[in-house]
């Protein structure tokens, strides 16, 4: 942000690290961070963007999504996003049912963050979100051990892997 001028529309995937290792925590994982700053970007845009993302990611037409107030230091107001799901025949079904599952954190970028990035918060505002990619993949494909992603067992890789020419598009979806 320091190098450019608003508006900003940034999406940044990458490796992230933490000192944790169990079935749902690995010392390395992938996070996708999004940021949209412009003159009139409000919380409704945040909601619309994430709703669209969730629908496209899980490849379902209808999805129940809940924005729940929460607290993060860099956003105000902040929200955690839950999606509706149910368990059917031992498998998770996204978009139906009465249970809620937390999938990501987001909010309106705190004015102090903008100030630090030399953007005038009186003129510009916007939203940010962060989501764990591996965690989303676990949900989508029903994978129950996060560490398996990084063990490169050829059987696992070939089972969950994609064809190299299976290129995701907005109109066709994420995979064949």
């Amino acid at each position: 942000m320091l190098k450019g001028k608003p508006p900003f529309k940034i999406i940044a995937p990458g490796r992230t690290y933490r000192h944790d290792s169990d079935q749902t925590h690995s010392p390395m994982f992938h996070q996708l961070e999004g940021l949209h700053i412009d003159k009139n970007i409000n919380m409704g845009h945040l909601k619309g963007c994430l709703y669209y993302f969730v629908k496209k990611f899980f490849e379902v037409n209808k999805v129940k999504i809940r924005f729940r107030p929460s607290h993060f230091p860099f956003t105000e107001p902040s929200a955690e996003v839950d999606i509706g799901y149910k368990i059917q025949d031992g498998k998770i079904k996204i978009g139906e049912g009465n249970k809620w599952l937390e999938i990501l954190g987001c909010g309106m970028v705190h004015p102090n963050v903008l100030k630090n990035a030399k953007v005038n918060p009186k003129q510009y505002q916007g939203y940010a979100f962060g989501v764990g990619i591996d965690r989303l993949a676990m949900l989508k494909y029903g994978i129950n051990d996060l560490r398996a992603f990084f063990e490169s067992d050829i059987r696992w890789l070939e089972f969950y892997g994609f064809d190299p020419l299976d290129i995701p598009t907005n109109y066709r979806g994420l995979s064949r």
Partner: protein, 800 residues
């Protein structure tokens, strides 16, 4: 934070049921993580009578009891308590019961050869007292046998996740206030307190003026002639519902008020205080025994509550045993104080202490709640234990740091996306405790003392959104127009190269950015390995300097599982130093095993260096580098087989390095115990791949179809062996770029009939004329040019 509906109702007038309350709490940002029903478990505890107790035939210290639990037959229970005797009324837990203290589920078990159907409980096991020795003795009658021991305690409790910005909700009243604000009931007024406080507090309290003093205010009241005792049932149950152990009326009261109002209190046995209370910075080496029965030795400048004889406790963190209250305590000093968050955090971190009080003080207690805490604490203790209270003494004061916030009403809709009226703003903010006044179009807002998190207008907007409900925020579809290209060149290259390698049959792996230093060293040219200061395990102790390290570990695991024919690759960062940015993006690919296994068409053969070279070359071609720009040379790295490896570079053999390829050094294969003898690999240095200057579409000249016959001519030279095939091809192509469309090597030979140091090389040249059919003389002319040029530059001789 744990609470229950009935506790909330102490502060909130509401008709809502538990589920409605829980749902609303989650909606306004106080997430209910779970609702626990203690009911089910506690039904298994029954009032019983020991009809007969006798010595266990196989154990001296155990008894075998026949117990009447109100059912048809007596049950046999083995019991170790001395006080188990005939005719005693006790508490019986049936098989299946979960013991509150240990959370262990009871089963029918053989104890020294005799089956015990359930157990007789001590107060300790039920979290009711610290008495482990004997079983509970009940004052009951025959008619009570078979009744449930726990009555009305079966109320469900909610476990609420409180975010760190909301210290006020670490008390039940704060939660009730939020619920009331959201429209789910009315917040009850605190009843006024009238107690005659005639005499002066006989214990002098002072806060020493020192740099870094951790205590802002120390309020206290002296209560004399109390009779401490066990708490009444209602209080015990509340304390148990919090997961705490009831201790005595005085201690339980202080805990109750802490959870009720987020107002920690501390009670001292006043008779054990040596003259006066001095709140001061500790001196290194001072120590005290705390209420968790551990001895703590202090550093300099920790907030010590002390008397003339030394440290009594750590302010806001934990009290000491020397002045702890007991059932025999007669006179108490009740403390209600304000400690600053950051010294609390620092001290508790150094000493590794975590208490409910510390948790609250480090988040921020309402500095205005000193007197309220004293009043309510005093009142409750005197209700239960009697006594007479002194006047309050309040030492110290702190500055009110709240600022008046200007709130423009339009800003709400600008940020949130829906509008709100001034009246609604006033209603919500005042119900949360803010004071408001209009000043033109702006609203002047003073947040309440218990909300240290509200500092500027955006914090007020958050409050308004939260209480109105996030579901009111409209859903606005994203505009899908991009201001810039979504991906820059490096990112495009990354994805393109990734697909290119994968489409050659390699399986993509993602491995840790860290690896085993012992393996990484084999593939590294770094002087110093990049050690992790706190590795997750000792075999993941460095940042990887090569993609090969983890790929080899993966290959080994797979080969050892008998998956021997492998093609694996990874694309990602490797690290050159410990500072941010000291990394580059690489592709590492390995193949091992056989190209083909036994079949009816071809013979078995291993993967070889030509396979891996071809994969590397084709990948470079596919990401946009023309074959004639790629120079093959025999420069190599220490981890490759010296004779079967090479470098692909751009433009010349000393140009930017694009990729290394080759057989992995046999020494490494052996050392890593890969159980194979051929492992091949290539590494592409993506950062060195140049950005295409023009789009492919723009870089191409116009396509002209040639109607004339193409001609192919063969040539054979004897040439110095230092010239590579690639060099010859490039040389020939340059001779007539218009006419020469292709040069293909079809034979390379060294040996009989060829002088040592030389090789024979044969290639054919395709000529494609544009404007006429080539005549013999035209062809002859080009051939001569080719021959003379090759001879001139390389000193080769035409082979006849």
């Amino acid at each position: 934070m744990i609470t229950s509906l009935s506790w909330l109702k102490n502060h909130l007038d509401t008709k809502a049921n538990l589920n409605q309350v829980a749902e609303r709490l989650t909606e306004i940002g106080l997430e209910v993580e779970n609702i626990k029903s203690s009911n089910v478990n506690l039904n298994n505890f029954i009032v019983c009578k020991i009809v007969k107790s006798q010595k266990h035939p196989n154990a001296d210290k155990l008894k075998l009891c026949d117990v009447d639990i109100g059912s048809e037959n007596l049950v046999k229970v083995v019991c170790g308590a001395q006080n188990a005797r005939d005719g005693l009324f006790a508490v019986y837990a049936s098989p299946g019961a979960i013991i509150p203290k240990t959370n262990i589920k009871l089963k029918v078990a053989k104890i020294r050869g005799i089956e015990s159907h359930g157990m007789l409980c001590s107060g300790y096991e039920l979290n009711e007292s610290s008495d482990k020795e004997g079983i509970i003795e009940l004052d009951k009658k025959e008619k009570n046998i078979g009744e449930k021991y726990f009555k009305n305690i079966g109320e469900k409790t909610m476990d609420i996740a409180i975010t760190p910005n909301r210290p006020d909700c670490l008390g039940v009243r704060g939660i009730a206030r939020d619920l009331a604000s959201s429209g789910l009931g009315q917040l009850k007024k605190q009843p006024p307190i009238k107690i005659n406080q005639k005499f002066k507090n006989p214990i002098k309290v002072s806060i020493k003026k020192e740099k870094g003093q951790g205590c802002g205010i120390f309020g206290s009241v002296y209560i004399k002639n109390v009779q401490n005792k066990e708490s009444p049932d209602w209080l015990k149950k509340r304390i148990i519902s919090l997961g705490l152990k009831p201790v005595s009326a005085i201690v339980d009261t202080t805990n109750y008020i802490m959870f009720d109002l987020n107002r920690p209190l501390h009670a001292y046995d006043a008779d054990k205080i040596d003259q006066e209370i001095i709140v001061r910075n500790s001196i290194k080496g001072e120590s005290f025994e705390a209420l968790d029965n551990k001895k703590y030795t202090l550093q300099n400048n920790m907030c010590a509550i002390s008397d003339k004889s030394g440290v009594l406790g750590l302010g806001g963190i934990i009290g000491g045993t020397r002045v702890g209250t007991e059932l025999s305590t007669k006179n108490i000093l009740l403390e209600s104080a304000y400690f600053f968050p950051s010294p609390i955090r620092k001290t508790s971190k150094i000493l590794n202490i975590d208490t409910d009080a510390k948790y609250r003080f480090e988040r921020g207690i309402d500095p205005d709640s000193i007197k309220l805490g004293l009043e309510l604490g005093m009142c409750m203790i005197m209700d239960i234990c009697g006594g007479e209270a002194s006047k309050f003494s309040i030492a110290g004061k702190i500055k009110d740091e709240r600022k008046i916030i200007d709130l423009e009403t339009e800003k709400f809709s600008k940020v949130i996306g829906f509008s709100i009226t001034s009246a609604e703003i006033k209603k919500i903010l005042s119900s949360l405790g803010c004071s408001l006044r209009m000043s033109g179009k702006k609203m002047k807002v003073l947040p309440p003392t218990w909300r240290p998190d509200i500092k500027e207008d955006i914090d007020l907007i958050e409050e308004l959104t939260r209480i109105k409900g996030y579901d009111k925020v409209p859903l606005i579809n994203p505009e899908k127009e991009n201001i810039k290209d979504t991906l820059n060149n490096k990112q495009k290259l990354f994805h393109f190269a990734q697909r290119s390698v994968a489409s050659k049959g390699y399986t993509e792996a993602i491995t840790w950015s860290f690896t085993d230093s012992k393996i990484d060293n084999l593939f590294s040219e770094l002087k110093n390995e990049i050690k992790l200061s706190n590795p997750i395990s000792s075999d993941l102790d460095v940042l990887r300097s090569s993609l090969y390290s983890n790929l080899m570990i993966s290959a080994k695991k797979n080969i050892h599982r008998n998956f021997e024919d492998l093609m694996l690759f990874e694309i990602g960062p490797v690290f050159k130093g410990s500072k941010p940015g000291e990394q580059s993006t690489m592709i590492g690919a390995i193949k091992t095993g056989k190209y083909s296994r036994k079949n009816w068409i071809e013979k078995e053969r291993n993967f070889d260096v030509y396979d891996i070279k071809s994969d590397a070359l084709r990948t470079l071609n596919e990401v946009g580098i023309n074959s004639d720009k790629i120079i093959v040379s025999n420069k190599t790295k220490k981890w490759y087989h010296p004779g079967r490896s090479g470098l692909l570079s751009l433009g010349s053999s000393s140009g930017p390095e694009l990729a290394y390829f080759g057989e992995i050094h046999p020494f490494i294969i052996k050392k890593l115990d890969l159980r194979t003898d051929n492992v091949l690999g290539f590494e592409i240095i993506l950062d060195n791949i140049p950005e295409l200057r023009k789009k492919i579409r723009e870089a191409k000249p116009q396509f002209i179809v040639s109607d004339y016959q193409k001609v192919v001519r063969d040539f054979a030279f004897v040439i110095d062996e230092k010239y590579s095939s690639g060099e010859i091809i490039n040389l020939v192509k340059k001779i007539d770029k218009e006419l020469i469309k292709n040069v293909r090597i079809f034979d390379v030979y060294q040996g009989d009939n060829i002088a040592p140091g030389k090789k024979s090389i044969a290639f054919n040249v395709t000529l494609e004329p544009k404007d006429k059919t080539l005549s013999d003389s035209d062809i002859e002319e080009v051939s001569k040019k080719i021959i003379s040029k090759v001879q001139e530059i390389t000193g080769a001789t035409l082979r006849s």
